[in-house]
């Protein structure tokens, strides 16, 4: 499967292990990823907060570049970028005049024919056939799948179908041999939009997520968004300070979990870059209650 890739700024910087792990598993899954040439930042919530047209123009340039490169489909692993790109595309398809205006601003032709897709959909397709044969080491742990805001919202055209209790990541985790817990914080906001400017609020919000996952006996939180990862992993000390407890609860990208199951080297998956070490003291004590994966 050949597909365009828009990594976005975070995946080049503070969340580079997400990109590294995606690129590490791609060839094993038969995914051929081609980066959008000379892409720019999507403007994220900053443009979205301050200047509506700028919030359209920046993602529009990316869409136009992808189009120019002949990409039918564009994978956007970062859910914040995904939200910007897909809402921009939807708005520009709906409003012809606006599309023409924005095309002028970005000095590129723009038809919006390149479709935007999320990491869960792409992985679901890539693992649909013969994935179990590729598994070297099932990831036999209880995991809490954390989707965050933008994989389920806005409801129209969201990546996941059940807005309040999405199942797409859970399904991938089951494939990798993990045991996803049922929980209610899958789509609660972690506060990423204010991560730098209002660290206290963010510690509170992210804290609730980690706390509930721990309460339900999860051994790891799995995410598909660099913002979520930053807040739950990098800012873990803030959370712990705020709550006055410590949690041994690593946060992994969905791509890293698949990578581990495929037997890919931890370093290649960027596990060493995490703030919370990806280590478990001993085998989970409820190993017996969970269904171990049936992989030979």
């Amino acid at each position: 499967m050949k597909i365009g890739l828009y990594p976005g700024c975070s995946l080049e910087g503070s969340s580079r292990e997400y990109l590294e792990s995606l690129q590490a598993i791609a060839p094993v899954l038969g995914l051929e990823l081609a980066e959008v040439p000379d892409w720019n930042c999507c403007g994220a919530s900053a443009a979205h907060s301050l200047n509506h047209k700028l919030a359209l123009a920046l993602p529009a340039r990316v869409l136009a570049l992808a189009e120019q490169a002949g990409m039918d489909k564009l994978l956007v692993p970062c859910s914040a970028c995904l939200n910007r790109l897909s809402t921009t595309r939807a708005e520009l398809i709906k409003n012809e005049a606006l599309r023409r205006e924005i095309a002028e601003v970005i000095e590129l032709s723009l038809t919006c024919r390149t479709r935007v897709t999320d990491v869960l959909s792409v992985l679901a397709k890539a693992t649909a056939n013969g994935f179990s044969e590729k598994i070297r080491q099932p990831f036999a742990r209880r995991v809490a799948c954390y989707y965050g805001c933008y994989l389920t919202r806005p409801v129209e055209g969201a990546a996941c179908r059940r807005t309040e209790d999405p199942q797409e990541m859970d399904a991938l985790m089951k494939l990798a041999g993990a045991d996803p817990i049922p929980w209610a914080f899958k789509v609660e906001c972690c506060g990423a939009g204010l991560s730098l400017s209002r660290t206290s609020s963010v510690a509170e919000l992210a804290g609730r997520v980690v706390e509930d996952a721990a309460l339900r006996g999860a051994e790891a939180i799995v995410v598909a968004c660099p913002m979520c990862h930053t807040n739950l992993d990098l800012r873990r000390s803030n959370i712990e300070q705020n709550l006055g407890t410590r949690f041994a609860m690593p946060v992994l990208y969905v791509t890293q979990v698949l990578g581990l199951a495929l037997g890919i080297d931890e370093r290649a998956l960027g596990l060493h870059r995490h703030e919370v070490p990806v280590r478990w003291e001993k085998k989970a004590n409820h190993q017996d209650t969970q269904a171990p994966s049936e992989v030979k």
């Binding site: 700024c9 975070s10 080049e12 910087g13 503070s14 969340s15 580079r16 000379d38 892409w39 720019n40 930042c41 403007g43 994220a44 919530s45 900053a46 443009a47 979205h48 907060s49 301050l50 200047n51 509506h52 047209k53 700028l54 123009a57 920046l58 340039r61 601003v105 970005i106 000095e107 805001c149 933008y150 389920t152 919202r153 806005p154 409801v155 807005t163 789509v187 609660e188 906001c189 506060g191 990423a192 939009g193 204010l194 730098l196 400017s197 209002r198 660290t199 609020s201 919000l205 990098l234 800012r235 000390s237 060493h272 870059r273 995490h274 703030e275």
Partner: protein, 195 residues
């Protein structure tokens, strides 16, 4: 602008709610104050006015109350997580309205003092994108700290990021950064003129 002129025909007066409806297509009058948005809002507890109260302020169509909405901290705290609109029984796009209120608050110089940090962050972010075409995280953090004076806040994170190979110190621009800069020039210029 399609607003009803006053009967005496002196000059057309638009209430903030009318302006918002015209500009972003969100009607505050559709809100029946059930509070479901507030009940689900991750930041409601920290807001000075709850999300449904912001809508209530607009419903009065009175300048004093409109100003309270524009001066509120709430509009700056909104994370655009879209929880509210997902569950709103009246399908009111509150995040979109909040975005509009932020822009109005800025323009009319009514920004909440604590909103400044948030604004500074957004501005620093866009500065970085304007200069390089992409976000340069080091530059962003430095610029933000200069703008706000919060020099020590969060500073502990940086060395750890560096140690894990996550921070690039030297800005690397994209080839099309001039094109990106032109986008900014056009639209930031436009924005000022349009309103």
């Amino acid at each position: 602008m399609i607003c009803h002129g006053q009967e005496d025909g002196e000059h057309a007066h638009c209430t903030l709610a009318e302006e918002a409806e015209h500009a972003v297509g969100v009607s505050a009058f559709e809100c029946y104050q059930c509070g479901k948005c507030t009940a689900g809002c991750p930041l409601a507890a920290e807001m000075d006015w709850s999300p449904h109260q912001i809508l209530r302020l607009l419903q009065y169509a009175a300048p004093e109350l409109e100003e309270q909405a524009l001066r509120s901290l709430s509009i700056w705290l909104c994370l655009t997580c879209e929880q509210c609109v997902t569950r709103c029984p009246q399908e009111i796009d509150l995040p979109r309205l909040m975005e509009y209120l932020r822009q109005q608050s800025l323009e009319r110089g009514l920004m909440h003092p604590q909103g400044r940090d948030i604004l500074a962050f957004h501005e620093a972010f866009l500065d970085s994108v304007r200069k390089h075409g992409r976000l340069q995280e080091v530059g962003l953090v430095a610029n933000y700290k200069l703008k706000t004076g919060h020099l020590l806040q969060d500073v502990l994170v940086a060395p750890r990021l560096l140690a894990r190979g996550k921070l690039k110190l030297l800005p690397q621009g994209i080839k099309g950064k001039a094109a990106v800069r032109r986008i900014f020039e056009r639209l930031q210029h436009d924005e000022g003129k349009e309103e």
